[in-house]
Subunit: 363 residues, 4 copies
Amino acid sequence: MSHNSFGHLFRVTTFGESHGPAIGCVVDGTPPGLPLAEADLQRDLDRRRPGQSRHTTQRREADQARILSGVFEGRTTGTPIAVLIENTDQRSKDYSEIAAKYRPGHADYTYEAKYGLRDYRGGGRSSARETACRVAAGGIARVVLGPSVIVRAALVQVGADRLTVPRKDWDWDEVGRNPFFCPDAATAERWGDLMDGVRKAGSSVGAVVQVEAEGVPPGWGAPLYGKLDQDICSALMSINAVKGVEIGAGFAAAALSGEDNADEMMPGPDGRPVFTDNHAGGILGGISTGQTVVARMAVKPTSSILNPRRTVDREGHATDIVTKGRHDPCVGIRAVPVAEAMLACVLADHRLRHRAQCGEGAC
Amino acid sequence: MSHNSFGHLFRVTTFGESHGPAIGCVVDGTPPGLPLAEADLQRDLDRRRPGQSRHTTQRREADQARILSGVFEGRTTGTPIAVLIENTDQRSKDYSEIAAKYRPGHADYTYEAKYGLRDYRGGGRSSARETACRVAAGGIARVVLGPSVIVRAALVQVGADRLTVPRKDWDWDEVGRNPFFCPDAATAERWGDLMDGVRKAGSSVGAVVQVEAEGVPPGWGAPLYGKLDQDICSALMSINAVKGVEIGAGFAAAALSGEDNADEMMPGPDGRPVFTDNHAGGILGGISTGQTVVARMAVKPTSSILNPRRTVDREGHATDIVTKGRHDPCVGIRAVPVAEAMLACVLADHRLRHRAQCGEGAC
Amino acid sequence: MSHNSFGHLFRVTTFGESHGPAIGCVVDGTPPGLPLAEADLQRDLDRRRPGQSRHTTQRREADQARILSGVFEGRTTGTPIAVLIENTDQRSKDYSEIAAKYRPGHADYTYEAKYGLRDYRGGGRSSARETACRVAAGGIARVVLGPSVIVRAALVQVGADRLTVPRKDWDWDEVGRNPFFCPDAATAERWGDLMDGVRKAGSSVGAVVQVEAEGVPPGWGAPLYGKLDQDICSALMSINAVKGVEIGAGFAAAALSGEDNADEMMPGPDGRPVFTDNHAGGILGGISTGQTVVARMAVKPTSSILNPRRTVDREGHATDIVTKGRHDPCVGIRAVPVAEAMLACVLADHRLRHRAQCGEGAC
Amino acid sequence: MSHNSFGHLFRVTTFGESHGPAIGCVVDGTPPGLPLAEADLQRDLDRRRPGQSRHTTQRREADQARILSGVFEGRTTGTPIAVLIENTDQRSKDYSEIAAKYRPGHADYTYEAKYGLRDYRGGGRSSARETACRVAAGGIARVVLGPSVIVRAALVQVGADRLTVPRKDWDWDEVGRNPFFCPDAATAERWGDLMDGVRKAGSSVGAVVQVEAEGVPPGWGAPLYGKLDQDICSALMSINAVKGVEIGAGFAAAALSGEDNADEMMPGPDGRPVFTDNHAGGILGGISTGQTVVARMAVKPTSSILNPRRTVDREGHATDIVTKGRHDPCVGIRAVPVAEAMLACVLADHRLRHRAQCGEGAC
């Protein structure tokens, strides 16, 4: 079973709490002989790292990934790859309030309802700090996928402000230049202003992330409970604060006619069909079509805000709480590399699963 | 692994193709001593059964579930429960066109890309006929959950026409009275007109289903890759034609502020907190809060339509196809009991998982 | 989890009780495009079938396997293969004694201690009748392995009478000719006399089965909890009445010196090393060496005997019981094709697992 | 899947190589609220630690377990418990010989056949050093089992010299006093002489370990592929150098009659039946009877010996090899606490599995 593992053949287990000595992951099932170095993990860890702009938390973590096993002389050996990331900025603070009261929108109450106790320091296991482990695992997944599969994501909505630039006009280079992972400079500037207002108000705001994979060959995925889209949704929904996921046209598909929704096929140059559009998001019947895989996820606004909220304490009495500390006013921003990592992990898993059942063919 | 199983402790494996001799499922992990009869499965199978109104396919299937094992003298024994549903209306027809061409929006091309061959009769394994097995399993899941947990669903959108009746004014009895599982009679009538137009046009249309569970105690679910919302999304996304899933406020949460989204808590009558709202959809940090669990799923329009579409044949040549036969013009309608079944299965699984780790307490 | 499934990528789930309407299995993960017919399953089912000699139970079961799914036009489609075997000879009898008392050596008491109830007709789920499902699955596994891997077993001990013919002098054709699956005609005759005595005494006797696989390439298996020998032992130990399993030299290895036990290597004709002996049973570090894989399992004597035994009834009172009915006086005999089936299933699983992680190479 | 994880609900994943920076494990599924400290792990780690007598390897490892997560204020939180053990005595040496040649009886050849490369330093992942992780996990398992279940093991055979003291006369205190975990002082002395001879000869010798659990209530385990005995055998067989496993009477059961083997039942003082003997090893039909659970495992002689052996090098040429370095001349000795740990882990897993399906009852 495993509450803290995901994937079947490319299998990731994470551990660690926000304010414990370290967090980390164990990745099992990686093919042998692949070149892998800590730098392969660090690239995306640095993109996810807090404190890189005024729009994210000011907690300072080096997020330095250390590989403890599974790599020998620069190559994967096929044995489990353990990655350790030490927690260095566990600022000493007074946790008595958060220990005694349940923060609205957080997992404080539910963890305690389930387990009877909780590590209340910084959210413990429920902290988004754990997503650093996902990003490290995603770095390994990218190596498993190889250069032919490109996984990348962008922020497409901050609060109610949706990116209106059509997909074909996105500038992927721009994604790496602004603090919002936004594929349009003007929109990023607008979001900067929006976020400044949110931060000054001591409030927070949600976001939507779009994540894509190019170069996935036809045939990955499996009916009926190992569908590629199902596993992508499961992976994205497992990220902190995500409340919705969709593939291709997603919820908008409900309003379409069969004619408008079902992408027609035409002969393609390499024998594979070419599709007239991509409402399917690159997946039909749970199996990849060869088109770009497209998913989106909705991230709720950060529940930690500076304005007082009504709640109850552990004894069940009514009280108020203000969540001080260093928080992201929009957790959706730093969720962008996390979404990429999860998609990469799912695809690496399905690459191996496809190879297991159907042989080397399309891999 | 298992491409065709879902759940961990309440574990369902399905088998069968649309036009094979039978479909069925094996349910493993059911607690012993529970009263169970075929009638417990038949109730929802009859709700899902085709041919019950002019708005669904006219294929006639008895969908009679037969329990082959795991029940003795009217009680579950704790051993696997096998359920068999024979395919009785496999109308002999000419499959040569569908065998030779890929229907747009269907899994024809992807199955063949993956496996190199496919059972083309009626969609084979990718046919929604398989959902009868899910509904049978859901009947067992309901028995595992017991009467304190109520799982029910309704259609909330057909095409672009969204139900506008506020949730508090829904009439659950009405859901059982109209052919749309709609909690409002007037809306159902409107949808009837809409569907008549769609059917006459030889077209199809999408839909949105909302599924809920009342009576789930706090504490079900688990961080971080066994989250209750994650498993619900995975289960719903595994249903044919589903392209999006969301929990509670879902995608709308992205546009909310932290103040508006995070449900405040107040002391409740029984010691448990009462929440001021349910943007969370009954789940925080992947664990149930004790509120009603709320999920929605978007179903794409049926890809089988009477209007000719462009496609390619197995040899890669351009051609046209018209999907004749008996099809649901809105597969979202019959997906309503399927969504209930999937939610029931996920909850039954998490009930057992919670009991395994944390003991009898909240169960 | 799944109490009633085994294997990961070649995954078998069985269901059914001795005296229910049917037993069966679902096999998931089979590669597509393989030729498969019911006859491929029937061959070994017929070898396992009861009533073929005076030395096995006189229960008459046709054991006719019916494939319900996963095969189309004579080839596997990659979807789950469901196999159904009806129970035809469920002789009506009076079960009141076995319902009220626990038979020594049987699972009556433990099932009831676990589940609070049990299907007492013929042992219910704990009956060796379930092994027919294993044999059916093994038939599919053989197809997955292909002709280059030969899995076969023989009886090497009946009661205290051990086969003394050296392994190199075994006659595999003889195995198919005598009722004991014995590779030596003279020994088979001796065992026939031994069994006649056992049967006349109303007693029973144990046995040891040796099962082997030739043609397994080097590289199947995996450290450290997916070892090939570990999975073989798990599979054999899951067979009814098995109390011990060993690989290669097995328990005898404990008494050897390092010099005597560790097989030396020499250059072989095809670039692979040749081993001087096979104490390892074809497996080192959990991974196949390319030699013949060799395992043995000890089967306890049938607990159903005609001589009265002391026991307790459901109310906890002391009583006596005689297990009448049609029983195998040596269940080890019919366990021979079951052992083959289990080894074939494990190897098919590991073939796919190896291909998943390491590619087509050695497969 | 996971090649490097075991257990379902009490799930252990290990990582690390003999000469990497560290080894460790992640234990998922532990119930919350249990008191746990590093000392609970250290007790058995110290028993397994090398260099404690002249009969084990002289490698010096502190084997200091550090808990990185899952414990807060001295209690388990229900989140994954990560344990790190640093490798401190990685003596610098010349690995060129072992890098170029395959040691007979070792996993050198098979790892390379599977993966195409191997971490040759000290055996890499195949080194028995990994068993320290198992022992750490076993310490957690003991806490999950609580004081009512006592798991302990003893050495019962060294080379061909079998302990002849009847089980009822064993002295468990003596097990802790001599370097052989032997329940009889005189036998331990005899084994000391035997081992001195083996060591002087530069040879090695095998052993048999018996491991037991008292206090297991009736009802743990599950048919048919989650049998308690099956999982115990799988766990023991996964230990380095183990070549055979048996339950209760084991292989000796094959030679018994049904009368002699099937333990009769009599009314017991507390309503539970009392068995006349324990040929079953505490397990019937895969489910615990309430008697002491008894298993044995055969450990092959260490393959690293000082006498030259014939082998091949990576290029396939014939050559000789002498395995120098610090090795256990009888790995079976230090396998004793490892066997305990594995049994404890299996029982902890089955305790949770039983509770999941059948409720708190017998737990």
